[in-house]
Amino acid sequence: MRDDFIKPINPPPGSSTAIEEEILQPGLNKEISKTPRTMQSQQPPEIQPEIDHTNKNFKGQQKHEHIICFTRKHWIVLAPYFVGLILISSGLAVFFMSGFHKSLAVLMSPIAYRVVALGVIIILTYYFHRFFVRLFNYYLQTIIITNFRVVCLEMTLYFNNVRDSMDLHEIQDVVIHQEGVIKTLLNFGEVTITMSSSSNATKLLRYLPNPEYYFRKINKCKREYISARRQVKADETTK
Protein backbone atom coordinates (compact mmCIF):
# COMPACT_ATOMS: atom_id res chain seq x y z
CA MET A 1 0.00 0.00 0.00
CA ARG A 2 1.31 3.42 -0.83
CA ASP A 3 1.38 5.55 2.23
CA ASP A 4 2.89 8.79 1.06
CA PHE A 5 0.03 10.42 -0.78
CA ILE A 6 -2.28 11.32 2.05
CA LYS A 7 -2.27 14.87 3.24
CA PRO A 8 -3.08 15.76 6.84
CA ILE A 9 -6.60 16.96 7.42
CA ASN A 10 -7.40 20.23 9.16
CA PRO A 11 -6.72 21.03 11.97
CA PRO A 12 -3.14 19.79 12.32
CA PRO A 13 -2.87 16.18 13.43
CA GLY A 14 -1.83 15.40 16.94
CA SER A 15 -2.43 18.88 18.15
CA SER A 16 -4.60 19.38 21.17
CA THR A 17 -6.39 22.24 19.46
CA ALA A 18 -7.92 19.83 16.99
CA ILE A 19 -9.96 18.26 19.74
CA GLU A 20 -10.50 21.31 21.89
CA GLU A 21 -11.71 23.56 19.11
CA GLU A 22 -14.23 21.09 17.84
CA ILE A 23 -15.60 20.20 21.25
CA LEU A 24 -15.72 23.74 22.59
CA GLN A 25 -16.99 25.22 19.34
CA PRO A 26 -18.89 22.46 17.54
CA GLY A 27 -19.68 24.64 14.55
CA LEU A 28 -16.11 25.65 13.92
CA ASN A 29 -15.20 22.91 11.51
CA LYS A 30 -18.51 23.10 9.70
CA GLU A 31 -17.12 25.94 7.63
CA ILE A 32 -14.28 23.73 6.52
CA SER A 33 -16.58 20.88 5.64
CA LYS A 34 -18.96 23.23 3.79
CA THR A 35 -16.24 24.53 1.52
CA PRO A 36 -15.87 22.65 -1.75
CA ARG A 37 -13.32 19.89 -1.75
CA THR A 38 -11.39 21.60 -4.51
CA MET A 39 -10.97 24.66 -2.32
CA GLN A 40 -9.76 22.51 0.53
CA SER A 41 -7.20 20.90 -1.69
CA GLN A 42 -5.91 24.34 -2.74
CA GLN A 43 -4.99 25.12 0.84
CA PRO A 44 -1.26 24.77 1.48
CA PRO A 45 -0.59 21.42 3.10
CA GLU A 46 0.86 21.32 6.58
CA ILE A 47 4.46 20.20 6.64
CA GLN A 48 4.67 17.15 8.85
CA PRO A 49 7.94 15.71 10.08
CA GLU A 50 8.72 12.21 8.96
CA ILE A 51 8.12 9.56 11.57
CA ASP A 52 11.19 7.64 12.62
CA HIS A 53 12.29 5.87 15.77
CA THR A 54 12.76 9.18 17.61
CA ASN A 55 9.27 10.64 17.29
CA LYS A 56 6.91 7.69 17.12
CA ASN A 57 3.68 7.99 19.01
CA PHE A 58 3.01 4.26 19.13
CA LYS A 59 4.72 1.04 18.17
CA GLY A 60 4.22 0.17 14.53
CA GLN A 61 3.61 3.72 13.36
CA GLN A 62 4.35 4.13 9.66
CA LYS A 63 6.67 6.66 8.12
CA HIS A 64 4.03 9.15 6.96
CA GLU A 65 1.39 8.28 9.50
CA HIS A 66 0.28 11.13 11.71
CA ILE A 67 -2.09 11.18 14.61
CA ILE A 68 -5.36 13.01 14.06
CA CYS A 69 -6.56 12.46 17.60
CA PHE A 70 -6.43 9.89 20.33
CA THR A 71 -8.43 8.98 23.38
CA ARG A 72 -8.53 6.70 26.34
CA LYS A 73 -11.49 4.89 27.77
CA HIS A 74 -13.97 6.78 29.90
CA TRP A 75 -13.08 7.11 33.57
CA ILE A 76 -16.09 4.93 34.44
CA VAL A 77 -13.88 1.87 33.84
CA LEU A 78 -11.83 2.93 36.87
CA ALA A 79 -14.85 3.47 39.10
CA PRO A 80 -14.86 -0.10 40.57
CA TYR A 81 -11.19 0.25 41.54
CA PHE A 82 -11.77 3.60 43.23
CA VAL A 83 -14.84 2.25 45.04
CA GLY A 84 -12.78 -0.72 46.28
CA LEU A 85 -10.03 1.61 47.46
CA ILE A 86 -12.49 3.83 49.32
CA LEU A 87 -14.14 0.82 50.96
CA ILE A 88 -10.82 -0.66 52.11
CA SER A 89 -9.50 2.70 53.35
CA SER A 90 -12.69 3.44 55.26
CA GLY A 91 -12.71 -0.10 56.69
CA LEU A 92 -9.15 0.32 57.97
CA ALA A 93 -9.96 3.76 59.37
CA VAL A 94 -12.98 2.38 61.24
CA PHE A 95 -10.92 -0.59 62.48
CA PHE A 96 -8.26 1.60 64.06
CA MET A 97 -10.39 4.55 65.17
CA SER A 98 -13.02 2.45 66.90
CA GLY A 99 -10.41 0.71 69.03
CA PHE A 100 -11.45 -2.68 67.71
CA HIS A 101 -7.82 -3.62 67.22
CA LYS A 102 -7.22 -3.37 70.99
CA SER A 103 -10.03 -5.74 71.82
CA LEU A 104 -8.74 -8.08 69.12
CA ALA A 105 -5.29 -7.94 70.70
CA VAL A 106 -6.79 -9.02 74.04
CA LEU A 107 -8.54 -11.98 72.44
CA MET A 108 -5.46 -13.21 70.56
CA SER A 109 -1.93 -13.94 71.71
CA PRO A 110 0.69 -11.37 70.60
CA ILE A 111 2.28 -13.83 68.18
CA ALA A 112 -0.99 -14.78 66.54
CA TYR A 113 -1.91 -11.12 66.36
CA ARG A 114 1.28 -10.23 64.52
CA VAL A 115 0.94 -13.16 62.15
CA VAL A 116 -2.58 -11.99 61.29
CA ALA A 117 -1.30 -8.40 60.92
CA LEU A 118 1.40 -9.61 58.54
CA GLY A 119 -1.22 -11.45 56.47
CA VAL A 120 -3.35 -8.32 56.26
CA ILE A 121 -0.29 -6.24 55.30
CA ILE A 122 0.56 -8.73 52.51
CA ILE A 123 -3.00 -8.51 51.12
CA LEU A 124 -3.05 -4.70 51.33
CA THR A 125 0.36 -4.42 49.66
CA TYR A 126 -0.85 -6.59 46.80
CA TYR A 127 -4.02 -4.52 46.45
CA PHE A 128 -2.04 -1.26 46.57
CA HIS A 129 0.25 -2.31 43.71
CA ARG A 130 -2.62 -3.75 41.72
CA PHE A 131 -4.56 -0.49 41.98
CA PHE A 132 -1.69 1.62 40.68
CA VAL A 133 -0.75 -0.82 37.91
CA ARG A 134 -4.37 -0.66 36.73
CA LEU A 135 -4.19 3.12 36.71
CA PHE A 136 -1.03 3.00 34.61
CA ASN A 137 -2.60 0.45 32.28
CA TYR A 138 -5.54 2.81 31.85
CA TYR A 139 -3.15 5.47 30.57
CA LEU A 140 -1.43 3.07 28.19
CA GLN A 141 -4.61 1.72 26.61
CA THR A 142 -5.38 4.21 23.88
CA ILE A 143 -7.49 4.45 20.76
CA ILE A 144 -5.71 6.39 18.06
CA ILE A 145 -7.10 7.80 14.84
CA THR A 146 -4.38 8.46 12.29
CA ASN A 147 -4.53 9.60 8.69
CA PHE A 148 -4.38 5.92 7.61
CA ARG A 149 -6.20 3.87 10.20
CA VAL A 150 -7.82 3.46 13.59
CA VAL A 151 -5.49 1.79 16.07
CA CYS A 152 -6.55 0.24 19.37
CA LEU A 153 -3.64 -0.27 21.74
CA GLU A 154 -4.52 -2.80 24.44
CA MET A 155 -1.17 -2.30 26.08
CA THR A 156 -0.41 -3.11 29.70
CA LEU A 157 2.78 -2.66 31.68
CA TYR A 158 3.21 -6.41 32.09
CA PHE A 159 2.37 -9.39 29.91
CA ASN A 160 0.02 -7.79 27.37
CA ASN A 161 0.73 -5.93 24.16
CA VAL A 162 -2.17 -6.17 21.73
CA ARG A 163 -2.51 -3.82 18.78
CA ASP A 164 -5.56 -3.85 16.57
CA SER A 165 -5.64 -1.59 13.54
CA MET A 166 -8.36 -0.92 10.99
CA ASP A 167 -7.46 0.71 7.71
CA LEU A 168 -9.71 3.67 6.98
CA HIS A 169 -10.46 2.56 3.43
CA GLU A 170 -11.63 -0.84 4.70
CA ILE A 171 -14.16 0.65 7.09
CA GLN A 172 -17.62 0.01 5.73
CA ASP A 173 -19.83 1.27 8.50
CA VAL A 174 -19.52 3.07 11.80
CA VAL A 175 -22.35 2.73 14.33
CA ILE A 176 -22.66 4.63 17.57
CA HIS A 177 -24.43 3.20 20.63
CA GLN A 178 -25.21 5.44 23.56
CA GLU A 179 -28.19 4.04 25.40
CA GLY A 180 -29.24 4.44 29.00
CA VAL A 181 -29.25 7.13 31.61
CA ILE A 182 -25.70 6.70 32.89
CA LYS A 183 -24.13 6.63 29.44
CA THR A 184 -26.04 9.72 28.38
CA LEU A 185 -25.34 11.65 31.57
CA LEU A 186 -21.65 10.77 31.69
CA ASN A 187 -21.33 10.99 27.91
CA PHE A 188 -19.76 7.69 26.98
CA GLY A 189 -20.77 4.81 24.76
CA GLU A 190 -19.75 2.27 22.17
CA VAL A 191 -18.70 2.73 18.59
CA THR A 192 -18.92 -0.32 16.35
CA ILE A 193 -16.74 -0.34 13.25
CA THR A 194 -17.69 -2.80 10.53
CA MET A 195 -15.00 -3.70 8.03
CA SER A 196 -15.66 -4.22 4.35
CA SER A 197 -13.56 -7.35 4.21
CA SER A 198 -15.10 -10.69 3.23
CA SER A 199 -15.44 -11.77 6.83
CA ASN A 200 -17.44 -8.66 7.71
CA ALA A 201 -15.40 -8.31 10.86
CA THR A 202 -16.54 -5.80 13.42
CA LYS A 203 -14.59 -4.00 16.08
CA LEU A 204 -16.32 -2.70 19.18
CA LEU A 205 -14.77 0.33 20.86
CA ARG A 206 -16.22 0.21 24.35
CA TYR A 207 -16.41 2.94 27.00
CA LEU A 208 -15.49 5.61 24.51
CA PRO A 209 -15.84 9.13 25.96
CA ASN A 210 -17.73 11.60 23.78
CA PRO A 211 -18.56 8.91 21.17
CA GLU A 212 -20.32 11.40 18.90
CA TYR A 213 -17.05 13.25 18.35
CA TYR A 214 -15.07 10.14 17.47
CA PHE A 215 -17.89 8.86 15.28
CA ARG A 216 -17.72 12.06 13.23
CA LYS A 217 -13.93 12.08 13.28
CA ILE A 218 -13.62 8.52 11.93
CA ASN A 219 -16.11 9.24 9.18
CA LYS A 220 -14.36 12.47 8.25
CA CYS A 221 -10.92 10.85 8.12
CA LYS A 222 -12.32 7.99 6.07
CA ARG A 223 -13.85 10.36 3.51
CA GLU A 224 -10.66 12.35 3.16
CA TYR A 225 -8.50 9.25 2.94
CA ILE A 226 -10.64 7.70 0.22
CA SER A 227 -10.82 10.93 -1.78
CA ALA A 228 -7.05 11.31 -1.56
CA ARG A 229 -6.55 7.75 -2.79
CA ARG A 230 -8.86 8.42 -5.72
CA GLN A 231 -7.01 11.61 -6.50
CA VAL A 232 -3.67 9.81 -6.56
CA LYS A 233 -5.04 7.05 -8.75
CA ALA A 234 -6.47 9.66 -11.13
CA ASP A 235 -3.13 11.43 -11.26
CA GLU A 236 -1.34 8.18 -12.01
CA THR A 237 -3.70 7.33 -14.89
CA THR A 238 -3.34 10.80 -16.45
CA LYS A 239 0.44 10.49 -16.33
Partner: protein, 92 residues
Protein backbone atom coordinates in the same frame (compact mmCIF):
# COMPACT_ATOMS: atom_id res chain seq x y z
CA UNK B 1 17.82 -25.79 89.23
CA UNK B 2 14.42 -25.42 87.63
CA UNK B 3 13.69 -22.16 85.94
CA UNK B 4 11.07 -20.15 87.88
CA UNK B 5 10.22 -18.07 84.84
CA UNK B 6 6.71 -17.81 83.50
CA UNK B 7 7.58 -19.48 80.19
CA UNK B 8 9.56 -22.59 79.59
CA UNK B 9 12.64 -22.57 77.37
CA UNK B 10 10.70 -24.25 74.56
CA UNK B 11 7.99 -21.61 74.66
CA UNK B 12 10.50 -18.78 74.54
CA UNK B 13 12.36 -20.48 71.68
CA UNK B 14 9.08 -20.99 69.79
CA UNK B 15 8.07 -17.35 70.27
CA UNK B 16 11.40 -15.96 69.16
CA UNK B 17 11.48 -18.26 66.13
CA UNK B 18 8.00 -17.26 65.05
CA UNK B 19 8.69 -13.56 65.54
CA UNK B 20 11.96 -13.81 63.62
CA UNK B 21 10.16 -15.58 60.79
CA UNK B 22 7.43 -12.92 60.77
CA UNK B 23 10.00 -10.14 60.54
CA UNK B 24 11.91 -11.95 57.79
CA UNK B 25 8.68 -12.29 55.82
CA UNK B 26 7.96 -8.62 56.49
CA UNK B 27 11.39 -7.64 55.20
CA UNK B 28 11.10 -9.79 52.08
CA UNK B 29 7.59 -8.47 51.41
CA UNK B 30 8.70 -4.86 51.42
CA UNK B 31 11.86 -5.52 49.46
CA UNK B 32 9.75 -7.16 46.78
CA UNK B 33 7.21 -4.35 47.06
CA UNK B 34 9.76 -1.58 46.57
CA UNK B 35 11.47 -3.53 43.81
CA UNK B 36 8.19 -4.05 42.01
CA UNK B 37 7.33 -0.35 42.33
CA UNK B 38 10.72 0.56 40.88
CA UNK B 39 10.35 -1.88 38.01
CA UNK B 40 6.84 -0.62 37.27
CA UNK B 41 7.96 3.00 37.17
CA UNK B 42 10.94 2.10 34.99
CA UNK B 43 8.77 0.22 32.50
CA UNK B 44 6.20 3.01 32.48
CA UNK B 45 8.69 5.79 31.81
CA UNK B 46 10.57 3.69 29.28
CA UNK B 47 7.34 3.38 27.30
CA UNK B 48 5.97 6.90 27.64
CA UNK B 49 9.31 8.51 26.82
CA UNK B 50 9.61 6.38 23.72
CA UNK B 51 6.04 6.90 22.54
CA UNK B 52 4.90 10.40 23.38
CA UNK B 53 1.44 11.93 23.16
CA UNK B 54 0.47 15.55 23.41
CA UNK B 55 -2.06 15.36 26.19
CA UNK B 56 -5.07 17.60 26.49
CA UNK B 57 -7.66 18.00 29.17
CA UNK B 58 -9.86 15.66 27.12
CA UNK B 59 -7.37 12.82 27.30
CA UNK B 60 -6.37 13.07 30.96
CA UNK B 61 -8.14 11.27 33.74
CA UNK B 62 -11.00 13.51 34.98
CA UNK B 63 -9.57 16.17 32.70
CA UNK B 64 -6.67 17.16 34.93
CA UNK B 65 -4.85 14.14 36.44
CA UNK B 66 -1.45 13.79 34.77
CA UNK B 67 0.27 10.42 34.63
CA UNK B 68 3.34 11.91 36.34
CA UNK B 69 1.27 12.81 39.37
CA UNK B 70 0.08 9.22 39.70
CA UNK B 71 3.64 7.92 39.29
CA UNK B 72 4.93 10.29 41.99
CA UNK B 73 2.12 9.38 44.37
CA UNK B 74 2.76 5.68 43.70
CA UNK B 75 6.42 5.95 44.71
CA UNK B 76 5.61 8.16 47.71
CA UNK B 77 2.85 5.83 48.91
CA UNK B 78 5.04 2.75 48.44
CA UNK B 79 7.62 4.18 50.87
CA UNK B 80 4.93 5.52 53.22
CA UNK B 81 3.33 2.09 53.31
CA UNK B 82 6.64 0.50 54.35
CA UNK B 83 6.97 2.91 57.28
CA UNK B 84 3.34 2.71 58.34
CA UNK B 85 3.22 -1.09 58.17
CA UNK B 86 6.42 -1.23 60.23
CA UNK B 87 4.76 0.97 62.84
CA UNK B 88 1.67 -1.24 62.80
CA UNK B 89 3.78 -4.36 63.34
CA UNK B 90 5.85 -2.73 66.08
CA UNK B 91 3.36 -0.85 68.19
CA UNK B 92 0.18 -2.86 67.87
Amino acid sequence: MACPAKFSYNQIYFKSTVMTTVWIFFLILHLVSIGFAGLTIWRLYYYIRRYRFSETKYTLLFGFVHLHWIAISYVALAFTWVVSSFLIMTFL
